[in-house]
């Protein structure tokens, strides 16, 4: 298991380095890029930038300064808003996004997994057909469309929920539902196909030959095996919810980091774009690593293996 984890850790560090370098290259090194173009900026910000970024220094020195600052977790000042740093914006917006995101993740797992299991066990019966039909539909509805429709129907027309802002529990419902549409559907499909595959395995037949009841076979033998692929999907799930937050927060006017990110894109606030991208990347890569760790713990073939082969 140790070798597996070390390999994953090294992989994670390399990915982080690649991301950081790529974002640097895109921002600083491309002709016509934000830091190289002559843009009309307010003189105070221009002065800040030059002081901060040493834009006249050789590229390589800029790169190392950039890396140094990253390690200190100093993401620089905003391009557009005087007196605010990127770190300020992140600190302000991220907690809100995190709350929304966690609710979305919880719903995805708590609804998606049981649905998938039931579908698999009632294969080709009406429960399965209905569930999978709905799942395919929700996998195909983009989250911003879902958000708009939910807002239209439940907030504007029926007035069951508020249409915007943040602070009260009722304001979580519609945004969270918009965010989980796709992930829930995907997880239920994934769980179903994984479960179907597991139920056809030889060891399930062995378990039945021992005289176990059908439910005992499912719970004790099938579930753990079936959920392993679902665990590996957790990484992409978190990424989907994170990127989904950009549009959902925008639509529902939620003061989260996603909304700030989109605003900074509209404004071409390059430092914020750069900094938030790096932040998100770090977040996702670290979360992915934690998922890998979990996977290594629950699958005995990884846990008790010297080769660390997956």
């Amino acid at each position: 298991m140790l070798r597996y984890l070390i390999r994953r850790l090294v992989s994670m560090l390399i990915v982080l380095w690649v991301i950081v370098t790529v974002t640097f290259a895109l921002m600083h090194a491309i002709p016509g890029g934000p830091f190289t173009a002559e843009k009309a900026l307010p003189p105070s910000i221009q002065k800040n930038l030059e002081a901060r970024y040493h834009l006249n220094d050789p590229l390589l020195k800029q790169y190392f300064d950039y890396l140094k600052n990253l390690l200190r977790w100093d993401l620089g000042p905003s391009f557009k808003y005087e007196g605010r740093t990127v770190n300020d914006i992140i600190n302000e917006g991220f907690p809100v996004s995190a709350q929304l995101g966690l609710v979305a993740v919880a719903i995805s797992l708590l609804v998606g997994i049981p649905t998938g299991i039931i579908s698999a066990l009632c294969r080709n019966r009406w429960q399965d057909n209905v569930a999978m039909f709905l799942a395919t539909i929700f996998v195909s509805v983009p989250n911003f469309i879902l958000a708009s429709v939910l807002m239209l129907v439940f907030a504007l027309k029926l007035r069951w929920f508020p249409a915007a802002m943040w602070g009260e529990p009722s304001q979580v419902v519609l945004p969270a539902l918009s965010l989980t549409g796709f992930p829930t559907a995907f997880i239920s499909r994934l769980t179903r196909s994984s479960m179907v595959e597991v139920m056809e395995q030889d060891y399930i037949r062995t378990a039945r030959a021992k005289g176990l009841s059908r439910s005992a076979v499912v719970i004790k033998h099938a579930l753990k095996n079936a959920l392993i692929p679902v665990v590996t999907y957790l990484g992409p799930l978190l990424a989907a919810i994170l990127t989904g937050s950009f549009v959902v927060e925008n639509i529902f006017a939620i003061p989260g980091l996603g909304r700030h990110f989109v605003t900074s894109i509209y404004n071409r606030d390059y430092t914020v774009i750069l900094g938030v991208t790096v932040f998100y990347s770090v977040l996702l890569v670290v979360l992915n690593f934690i998922v890998d760790l979990t996977y290594a713990i629950i699958d005995p073939r990884i846990k008790f293996s010297d080769t660390g082969k997956e």
Partner: protein
């Protein structure tokens, strides 16, 4: 029936009789096509795809409006759907139906071309990696593992911020980031095919490497390649719509479905149709491709055991 003596005459068992009772062979493709045809949802998906493409190509020819004709009079702007304007009009009095049709052209072509780029890059990369195996494969797959960990949507966003929004750039950006899934699948296919007995048999018979690659490995990998390419299209359409929604999509006056939906959001409270119709178009296209792609995958799956 009594056993009469003449029934106990021997017959000449011939080869034909020996094999006569075995089932006639069907080819893999015919079998797959049969299974696909039986999948109702997949066929509906295919029909919708054909309709969407036809509308996109020929639809605007039949409309009395162009996508940029404005009508800024009070009776022109923000009209609900009517016989005159099937989808209503937008904030500038433009006919929404024809704009959605033009949007189809843009969104669908982005979907198709981005998918083609993904296909080319992915098949090449995966093919080389899988075919040569060994160290080359090792290195190439390590690179892919690293790239896989990078959140792709973020990179696409970043690319669009730096390289300025535009039709060509979107296709390239999507194609250049989403090829990884295809590469992995192609490589996996080729690796497993190489192991299979008939490939070894071909080698034993002295077939050249090129012959093996083109006559055996690639034709048998086409199934998963087609499925993956088909399923990349709704992903590309979604990504483009997403980008448009945050302002990084195609530039005006070109309007993809994503741009239309984003414009429609402003008037959601009073003129919901402005969002609903483009939104519906996006969902319909994605649904159709997803159902069809799923059906393809089920049909082409090697059918074991039975």
């Amino acid at each position: 029936m009594e056993a009469r003596a003449e029934l106990f005459q021997p017959i000449e068992p011939s080869e034909e009789v020996a094999y006569a009772f075995a089932r006639p062979a069907t080819t893999y493709w015919r079998d797959a096509w049969r299974r696909l045809r039986q999948n109702r949802m997949a066929m509906i998906g295919l029909a919708v795809i054909v309709i969407l493409f036809s509308l996109a190509i020929f639809g605007p020819l039949f409309s009395p409006y162009s996508y940029s004709d404005q009508d800024l009079t009070p009776t022109g702007i923000n009209q609900p759907p009517s016989l005159k304007h099937w989808f209503g009009t937008d904030a500038l009095g433009r006919d929404l139906f024809v704009r959605v049709l033009y949007g189809a052209r843009i969104s669908l072509s982005i979907g198709v071309f981005a998918s083609l780029i993904i296909l080319v890059i992915g098949v090449t990369y995966g093919g080389i990696s899988g075919y040569f195996g060994g160290k080359i494969d090792n290195v190439m797959m390590r690179i892919v593992d690293v790239l896989y960990g990078i959140p792709t949507l973020l990179i696409v966003i970043l690319l669009m911020v730096v390289f300025k929004p535009g039709l060509k750039n979107i296709m390239i950006a999507i194609g250049a980031t989403y090829w990884i899934g295809m590469a992995r699948i192609v490589r996996g296919q080729i690796l497993s095919l190489k192991e299979q007995d008939y490939a070894m048999a071909a080698v034993a018979l002295g077939a050249s490497r090129r012959r093996i690659l083109f006559r055996h490995l690639i034709p048998n990998s086409i199934g998963p390649i087609i499925v993956t390419a088909t399923l990349s299209i709704p992903e590309a359409i979604f990504t483009e719509a997403f980008l448009s929604f945050i302002g990084l999509g195609v530039a005006a006056p070109m309007a993809s479905w994503g741009v239309l939906a984003s414009e429609g959001l402003n008037g959601l409270r009073s003129y919901p149709w402005q969002l609903l119709f483009p939104g519906l178009a996006i969902c319909l296209a994605m649904l159709a491709f997803n159902f069809f792609g799923d059906g393809l995958r089920d049909a082409l799956d090697p059918w074991m055991r039975r």
